[in-house]
Amino acid sequence: MTATETKPGTAVKVLTMLILFVALKAVGNLCMAWGMKRFPQTMSVNPVPYIEAMLDPFVAFGVAALILALLTRMALLSLADLSYVLPVTAIGYVVAAFMGKMFLHEDVSGQRWLGTGLIFAGAMLVGSTTHSTTDPKAR
């Protein structure tokens, strides 16, 4: 098996992990943003407000989702190149723009939509390349 050939089913695993990572990251960030907007105190170098914020169910759920996202990204890096994972997971910017608009009613400017469009197109282009180009035996 050459470096560019992968086991059958690996592409499906990579795609599943990508979707899971982007979804967990988006949900985690949304819950964190939602929870922090409800939090009355301003953050500073003092660690106490951070710990208090963690007691908010939305913030706690957001942190848990972001930890799961980190582990999923690690698993993804065991199967795919870093130069593949980086641009493809940037699709999260597109998801964040949609979720910010839909759930947090944030204003998304034309320039930001253009940027998200470029990210989406670039991620699709990288996504069409082979996800792993390194030989596992050489690792």
Partner: protein, 119 residues
């Protein structure tokens, strides 16, 4: 001061991702089942490069927080995208990944997109 923070943030992000990628490639195929996630948590504790990667991630996170306190997000987000370029170059030379024209073109499109999103 802002450029020091940008430098620290970019360096920490790049180092964290390179270490993670290197260590995960060595670890072989991992899964995201309940058992797989527990195994990954165990690996973070046992493998020193992964511990260092998480420490770098924390440095990057707090540098970003400090940066957005002093500078607008429209500066911080595109500035953080500098790590994207460095990581792609280092993935080729350090991790020995084969980066073709399509991957370079896609990565540049994403980079422009990130700069526009932040701008």
């Amino acid at each position: 001061m802002k450029w020091v923070l940008v430098g620290v943030m970019v360096a920490a992000t790049v180092l964290s991702d390179l270490l993670q990628s290197y260590e995960m490639k060595r670890a072989g195929e991992q899964s995201v089942s309940a058992g797989g996630l527990m195994r990954l948590l165990g690996m973070i504790v046992r493998r020193r490069f992964l511990i260092l990667a998480i420490a770098c991630m924390a440095v990057s996170f707090f540098s970003f927080m400090a940066l957005v306190q002093a500078e607008p997000l429209s500066f911080a987000v595109p500035a953080s995208a500098a790590s994207f370029v460095l990581e792609t170059i280092l993935a080729k030379f350090v991790l020995r990944e084969r980066i073709g024209a399509r991957r370079v073109a896609g990565a540049l499109m994403v980079l422009c997109g990130v700069v526009l999103v932040g701008g």
